[in-house]
């Protein structure tokens, strides 16, 4: 009984986070903001659902499914790399940022080749 409630919580959190990620894709104004919504909330959403499924099979059906754990690891490995490549390509292609974007240190670097100094020492 307690286990079923726990699994339901995991599945609900996963579904909710995926939904919020979808809403974020619609609401954010530029490609960079959309990447935030698409890769991050969705990552934790997928992990929530996978954890729920894993617990369901482990505790209620007594089957240990290692593939689900592998799935979690690979989502963790691939999501940031994909986001990195998409945003980098978008920036180099010259995709416009939202007009309310405040700082742009990367533009400075591409124009002058200077990196800001480490202020700690």
């Amino acid at each position: 009984m307690v286990i079923e409630i726990l699994i339901s919580i995991f599945l609900l959190i996963g579904g909710l986070l995926s939904l919020v990620g979808g809403v974020g894709i619609l609401r954010f104004p530029d490609v960079y903001g959309r990447l935030h919504a698409a890769t991050k909330s969705a990552t934790l959403g997928v992990i929530g659902i996978l954890t729920g499924v894993f617990l369901f099979f482990l505790i209620l059906e007594h089957i240990f499914i290692g593939k689900i754990l592998l799935g979690i690891i690979f989502v963790f490995l691939t999501a940031p790399v994909g986001a990195f490549m998409i945003s980098r390509t978008a920036y180099i292609q010259g995709t416009k940022m939202w007009e309310r974007t405040k700082q742009d240190d990367l533009k400075k670097y591409i124009e002058t080749g200077e990196t800001p100094k480490d202020k700690r020492s």
Binding site: L17, V20, V23, G24, R27, F28, P29, D30, Y32, G33, L35, H36, A37, T39, K40, S41, T43, L44, F76, L77, A79, P80, V81, A83, F84, S87, R88, Y91, M97, W98, R100, T101, K102, Q103, D104, D105, L106, K107, K108, Y109, G113, T115, P116, K117, D118, K119, R120
Partner: protein, 158 residues
């Protein structure tokens, strides 16, 4: 470090033979016994106890899990607020990490934390360019990355 792990595994096997019980549980107990032996001998043999790094790595993962949940909550609040009141921007974060895989790990951890996204490296790899969804205070954001992820990664590798 590899040598210490090897010694530890050998001690675990010796423990299994002494117990005459070849199950996984006995192996784990033997491994813990070996860890304790290495821990108490670390001053005499003049080596760096390797489990300290494992422990630092576990702490790094715990910090990451905490940050993941915290930052997700922040992004959800931004998304569901009726008025989109954010100030996105690209900030340059200098890093002290030296090797390539340390920097890759830092970039991936930053990318996985919602609200921040690694976009590019400088040519020599000493600076990360990060797109943040909400940066009212640039210095504070840079300092936070230095104090959490960079510090934890340095604890693992040094």
């Amino acid at each position: 470090m590899q040598f210490q792990i090897l010694i530890n595994i050998v001690i675990a096997f010796i423990w299994m033979f002494l117990q005459n019980d070849f199950s996984g549980v006995t192996f784990i107990i033997g491994y813990i016994v070996g860890l304790l032996m290495l821990f108490f001998l670390r001053r005499f043999l003049r080596f760096d106890f390797y489990f300290r790094r494992v422990w630092a790595f576990i702490k790094l993962m715990a910090l990451f899990a905490y940050k993941l949940v915290e930052a997700n909550w922040d992004v959800i609040k931004i998304i569901l607020r009726p008025k989109l009141d954010i100030e996105p921007g690209i900030i340059a974060v200098p890093t002290k990490l030296k090797s390539d895989w340390e920097r890759t790990l830092l970039a991936n951890l930053i990318s996985l934390t919602p609200g921040t996204l690694t976009m590019n490296f400088s040519e020599d790899g000493s600076t990360l360019f990060i797109h943040a969804i909400h940066v009212p205070d640039k210095e504070k954001a840079i300092k936070e990355i230095h104090d959490t992820f960079e510090k934890a990664i340095r604890e693992v590798t040094e």
